[in-house]
């Protein structure tokens, strides 16, 4: 009886351990990535509003203050311009700060420090002064938080030379890209998505390794396809995959490209895909004008892939309005799966 029990216990432990390793939500992936990097390099520290004793406004930094203490996990007052500047100054002087914006909307208060103090300094100093900083936080629309709390900043930050801008979709992205960002000697804008925090994804043992990093600047083909290329970033990658599943039933095979990085943009992967499929639809949550999709289309026009297009490239984007509050309005302000399917069929003349 005892041996049976221990046999069951042993296998249950293995199953449980395997289960925990295999399914990790985006929040925990970010948390574990930060934990491991804090442990690995004592110059790394986290500052932002509510990151310490509150465990993070969205619980992304849960447990870190308890483990690392006041020195390395710092609660700041509600003074974005001040603490972002302090973070950049700390990076100047040899530390490796992670500066959290509770949401990227609040970064507008500090945008001068991100652009003029962080992004441009390596260039202005002709390579003398590095700025190894990560700015991170949730970006884009959430649920019911209305106009001032729903803006996507991928295009704004993606516009600026000197910055790296990263936009993970799933847990693998979140983990690998955040580790890469923290280890990068350049200022990285890390755009998370609040709606993705609670979504679990499978992580392989390789991905759980403490030195697992995903190279910044490289897109990933999430789904192979032949008829049309869907290029997206962040949460919309999931919508593209869902749309692709529906379209597959009608015989349309979509290739889904997950950008992972907004800047530097992996044009090569996009071009290779478009040259294979001949059609392109970009999908993003942000506004259309001067956006990520606009940049991708322009690059395709200017490059070798243009000659392979069977139809003009089009963009699926958020509606060009401030985000409304009422659920029915909000739902119709962001790209839905049916919008992607509709656009694909239009492009393919179906």
């Amino acid at each position: 009886m005892a041996s049976l029990r221990s046999f069951l216990q042993c296998n249950f432990d293995i199953l449980r351990k395997t289960f925990v390793i295999l399914f990790v939500n985006v929040r925990d992936a970010l948390n574990q990535a930060m934990d491991e990097e804090l442990e690995r390099d004592e110059r790394v520290f986290l500052l932002g509003e509510e990151v310490a004793q509150y465990d993070g406004a969205y619980k992304v930094s849960r447990g870190l203050w308890k483990k690392y203490g006041d020195k390395r996990i710092i609660d700041t007052p509600i003074t974005e311009m001040g603490f972002a500047g302090i973070a950049v100054g700390a990076a100047f002087a040899g530390l490796r700060p992670i500066c959290e914006f509770m949401t990227w909307n609040f970064s507008m208060q500090a945008i001068d420090q991100v652009i003029n103090s962080a992004a441009k300094t390596y260039y202005m100093s002709a390579g003398f002064q590095t700025v190894p900083i990560v700015f991170r936080g949730p970006n884009g629309s959430s649920a019911g938080v209305a106009a001032q709390h729903s803006q996507c900043f991928a295009a704004w930050y993606g516009h600026c030379p000197g910055l790296k801008v990263v936009s993970p979709w799933n847990s693998e992205d979140a983990r690998g890209l955040l580790k890469a960002a923290i280890r990068d000697d350049n200022p990285v804008v890390f755009l998370e998505n609040e709606m993705m925090y609670g979504v679990p994804f499978e992580l392989s043992e390789e991905m759980m390794h403490k030195d697992f990093v995903i190279p910044i600047g490289k897109a990933k083909v999430e789904r192979q396809g032949t008829h049309i290329t869907l290029v997206s970033h962040s949460r919309c990658v999931g919508f593209c995959l869902d749309a692709a599943a529906v379209l597959a039933k009608e015989g349309v095979e979509c290739e889904v490209v997950n950008l992972r990085t907004i800047r530097p943009l992996d044009v090569d992967t996009i071009e290779a895909s478009v040259m294979k499929t001949g059609n392109l639809v970009t999908v993003e949550g942000g506004w259309p004008q001067y956006g990520v999709g606009a940049e991708i289309c322009a690059r395709i026009m200017e490059g070798p892939a243009f000659n392979y297009l069977d139809a003009p490239a089009v963009r699926v984007t958020g509606v060009d309005i401030p985000m409304p509050y009422a659920k029915i309005l909000e739902d119709h302000s962001v790209p839905q799966i049916k919008d992607i399917i509709f656009s694909v069929k239009k492009v393919l003349n179906m």
Partner: protein, 382 residues
């Protein structure tokens, strides 16, 4: 300020006997600092050795001559863009450097040439940066407002932005436990910036070893302090942070004050605010003649009665710490250094076009950068 300080300063209080021609050191009474939330301030007496005196003289005179040369080159259109000159304020940069260690840190705004020099960059590299040549300290890519050196974080173009940065450097000092301080400078014009008060708050909360210094030269561009600030007591603006008001035209006053401030910070007491009362002879920048918002008489009065270099010179001469000939000799040496540097700055070639896209990212493999049109693909290396 002004006349009283000069006559007080030239009166010798203590003199060491010496068989040499010159007096090796003397003690000078200096103006007492106004204090805010401090029981005691810096000493009201400063000891100056002959060696120090000569060094301060040489440094301040070099900055003076360098700035005047920059003025000349700007008028000849060899320097372009922004050029904010520091002549008149030399005692601030020199006094600060004299009171801190090379391992301490410093950050300032755009009127930065003086500090670039005192923090260790050669005149020729400064002038060549102003003329935009490859021999400039930032290889011609930064310009007047973006010069960097070890423990010197520029040179910053956005008014007030350097203050949180300086507080961040101080945080790094505290974090690393290295007993260093960060001197964070801003002007009377910047003193009303919100981010400065945000920095005060966090520096005080976390007891950062940050010396916040307001160089009050009475004008923020064309706006006098009375027209910009509801309170012109800049040394009190830190509110809960102790402050002192210092005669910024007296290099010894500045030095004693910064020593006091640095000791305060190193003792773990938190940040401190200093106001240096100073004056700029030039306008805000080279595009500002500087006489529409102040009178030529006012400028002239400061030059004759309160010039920082003259003040030091008079002290040394009247205490037999140097001679007219010796100082003249130094002036000639400096003149030569400046002339050589100017020659270099004029003749050094501009950066190669290959440099255009370099230094976007640090420690990254080479990458392609889009040129002005899709067919131009430029190369960028770290």
């Amino acid at each position: 300020m002004g006349a009283q300080a000069v006559s007080e300063g030239t009166r010798m209080v203590v003199s060491a006997r010496s068989f040499a021609d010159f007096t090796p050191q003397a003690s000078f009474p200096i103006k007492k600092c106004d204090l805010h939330r401090l029981e005691e301030g810096p000493s009201d007496e400063a000891l100056l050795t002959r060696e120090q005196g000569l060094q301060y003289y040489r440094t301040m005179q070099t900055v003076r001559r360098m700035e005047l040369k920059a003025d000349q080159l700007y008028k000849q259109k060899i320097i372009r863009g922004f050029c904010h000159l520091y002549d008149g304020q030399e005692a601030c940069a020199m006094g600060i450097e004299a009171g801190i260690n090379p391992t301490d840190h410093l950050i300032t705004a755009y009127r930065a040439h003086g500090y670039t020099f005192t923090r260790g960059v050669a005149v020729r590299e400064i002038l060549a940066e102003l003329t935009g040549r490859r021999g400039g300290v930032a290889k011609g890519k930064g310009g007047s407002m973006h010069m960097y050196a070890k423990n010197f974080y520029g040179g910053n173009g956005i008014v007030g932005a350097q203050v949180p940065l300086g507080a961040g450097v101080a945080l790094a000092c505290q974090y690393q436990g290295n007993n260093q301080v960060c001197v964070t400078l801003y002007g009377d014009g910047a003193a009303n910036q919100g981010q400065i008060f945000e920095s005060f708050n966090m520096a005080a909360l976390w007891k950062l070893p940050c010396i916040f210094i307001c160089e009050n030269n009475k004008f923020g561009m064309g706006t006098s302090v009375e027209r910009s600030s509801a309170s012109t007591d800049y040394y009190k603006r830190g509110d809960y942070i102790p402050g002192l008001k210092v005669d910024g035209m007296d290099v010894l006053c500045v030095r004693e004050a910064i020593r006091f401030a640095a000791d305060y910070c190193r003792a773990g007491k938190g940040p401190i605010v200093m106001e240096l009362e100073t004056y700029r002879y030039h306008g805000h920048s080279m595009s500002d003649p500087g006489v529409s918002y102040r009178t030529r008489e006012e400028i002239q009065e400061v030059r004759t009665k309160n010039d920082p270099i003259s003040m030091l010179k008079e002290r040394m001469l009247s205490n037999n710490m140097s001679s007219v000939e010796e100082l003249k000799e130094i002036d000639l040496e400096i003149r030569k250094v400046i002339e050589d540097a100017a020659q270099y700055a004029i003749s050094d070639p501009e950066p190669s076009l290959d440099e255009l896209c370099n230094h976007i990212y640090a420690r990254d493999p080479p990458m392609e950068v889009r040129g002005t049109n899709p067919w131009v693909k430029l190369k960028s290396v770290s």
